[in-house]
Subunit: 275 residues, 2 copies
C-alpha cells in the first residue's frame, strides 16, 4: 500500500471510530491498516481527541489493559441543551394536542437524526453502568432503545405485548398500568437474556411508571440485573411514580385540552450546559 498521509489516516479513523460508538479498536488494528508505527497512530489519536472536543462532536477514550485500545464516546455539550430546547418548543405546539389530552410525539421518535441524538445524550448517563443490553417493550420505545444501544454498543431486547409463534418459547408476566389501572401482559423470548446480564430499560414516555415496573419484574424473572432506566419524556404528574431512579430528557409539565396549551421542558440535568 502507498504511504498514507496523516490527514488521510485521521479522516479514516474518525469515520471508523464514530461509526462504531463505544467499540474498542486496538492501535494495532489501525497500524496494520495504514502500515504505520503504533507511536504514529498514538499521535493521531491525540489529534482526533482534541478536534472532537474542540468542535463539540464527541470524545475518544483510551482503554488500557490486554483488551485495550481506543473508542469513540458521546459527551454532553452546550449544543445538546439547545437541541433539546428546540425539540421542547416543537412539542409544545397546540397542534400536537390529541383528543383525551394526549400529546402527538410519534413523528419526532421516528426521525433518525433526532432519535440518534436522543440516544447519544441518554447514553452519556449510562456508560458507567455498562449494560449488556437495552430492553424496551414494543412499539414506540423501539427507536430510542436502538439509538441508545447504538451509542452504548450493545443489542436491544424487545418485550412484546403478546408472544408470537415465530420467536420460540417465552416468559410472561402480568403488570398493572399505573395510569389505566388495567392488568397487562408482557413477554420476552427465553433465549434473549442470560442470567446475570445487565439490562438498561429504555422507553419513549413515562407517566406512572407501570410499564417500566413491568420490565423490571420481567428482568427479575430472568435473574438479570437492572443497569438503569432512561426515557425521552416523563410527566411532571404524578410526582410519585412507581419507579424512583430514572433519567428523562424532557418533562411534560402540562397538557390542557380546553385551553389548547401544552408545556414541555428540558429535564433539570440538561440545563446549564450553556456557558
Amino acid at each position: 500500500m502507498d504511504k498514507v498521509r496523516r490527514n488521510e489516516r485521521i479522516g479514516a479513523m474518525v469515520n471508523i471510530l464514530c461509526s462504531h460508538p463505544n467499540e474498542i479498536f486496538t492501535l494495532n488494528y489501525f497500524s496494520d491498516m495504514f502500515n504505520t508505527a503504533k507511536s504514529t497512530i498514538s499521535d493521531d489519536v491525540v489529534i482526533i481527541k482534541d478536534l472532537l472536543t474542540r468542535f463539540q462532536l464527541g470524545d475518544v477514550e483510551t482503554v488500557v489493559g490486554a483488551a485495550g485500545g481506543v473508542k469513540f464516546i458521546s459527551r454532553l455539550f452546550e449544543d445538546d441543551e439547545i437541541f433539546i430546547k428546540d425539540i421542547c418548543n416543537e412539542l409544545s405546539s397546540p397542534d400536537r394536542i390529541l383528543p383525551g389530552g394526549f400529546l402527538y410525539i410519534t413523528d419526532i421518535l421516528f426521525i433518525p437524526g433526532v432519535v440518534e441524538r436522543f440516544g447519544n445524550i441518554l447514553a452519556t448517563q449510562f456508560y458507567d453502568a455498562r449494560p449488556d443490553f437495552v430492553i424496551t417493550v414494543e412499539t414506540k420505545g423501539i427507536p430510542i432503545a436502538l439509538a441508545t444501544a447504538r451509542a452504548l454498543n450493545c443489542p436491544v431486547v424487545m418485550a412484546r405485548r403478546e408472544s408470537k409463534v415465530t420467536e420460540g418459547s417465552t416468559i410472561s408476566i402480568n403488570y398493572v398500568s399505573a395510569s389505566s389501572r388495567r392488568i397487562q401482559t408482557m413477554s420476552l423470548v427465553k433465549r434473549a437474556v442470560e442470567k446475570g446480564q445487565r439490562g438498561l430499560i429504555v422507553d419513549d414516555f413515562m407517566k406512572g411508571g407501570g410499564t417500566v415496573r413491568g420490565l423490571m419484574e420481567l428482568l427479575h424473572e430472568f435473574e438479570a440485573e437492572i443497569a438503569g432506566v432512561g426515557v425521552i419524556i416523563s410527566t411532571e404528574d404524578p410526582g410519585q411514580k412507581m419507579v424512583k431512579d430514572y433519567k428523562s430528557l424532557m418533562v411534560l409539565k402540562d397538557v390542557d385540552e380546553g385551553e389548547r396549551k401544552v408545556m414541555v421542558e428540558p429535564s433539570p440535568w440538561l440545563k446549564g450546559l450553556i456557558n
Copy 2:
C-alpha cells in the same frame, strides 16, 4: 478562533458528514466553522472523498446548484459481500429453526451495528428514487426501516396493526396475508403522509408479499407514490409473489424442520462485489 489545521478540519468534517448521511452541507457552512477560504474547504473535500473510497468507507458527493454542497453517501464495497455472507452463515444455523419451520432472526434485527449496515447497503439501491419517507408496519420492520431512513436522510412512518387513541385520526385498510390467507387490518395516522409524497416500503421479511401489498394499498389511499420496496430477507418460495419489484439482502432457500437444515444466501445483486 485559532487557526484550524488541515487534519483537524478533515477529522471534524468526516465526523459531521458521516453522522448525517445524505444531508447536504454547504461549503460556506464549513468555511464559516473553520474561518477558512471556500477553496481550501474544496481541497479538503477532495481529500475526504479519496480517503473514504480508498478505505472502502463510503463516498462524498457534490451537489451543484443554489441548494448545493457536499454530502456523505454509502457505496457497495467487497466488504459488504463478506458481511452479508457472514450473516447468512449465522442465520443458517439449525439452532435457529423454531417449531413450525420458522426461522429465529429477531436478535440480528436488533443489533444496532448490524442493522445500520443493512440499512446502508439497502439505501444504495434507493438514492435515485429520492423517497420522502420510509414506511413499515410494526413491529420487527422498525429497526431496518430506521436504518434505511437514516442512510437516506428521511423520516420513518409506521403503520399499525390497530389504531391507537394516542395518535389521532387514521386511515385503515384490510388486506390478505399471502401465507395465512387471513384478512388483516393496518392503519396509518392521517397527519403522517401528505398527498404526492414518495414512500419507500421497507420490512424485515417477505414471503408471499401480502404485507408489502397492504402497505402499497395504504399509500394509494393517501395518494402517495411508491418509491420502491426493500426487505432484509425474502423467501425463495413462493417464486410468484404478490410484489414483483423489490430488493432483498438475503434469500431464504429452505427451512427443513425434520432434517434440521436451513439455508440462507446473499441475494444475486450482492454477489460478485469481491474482485
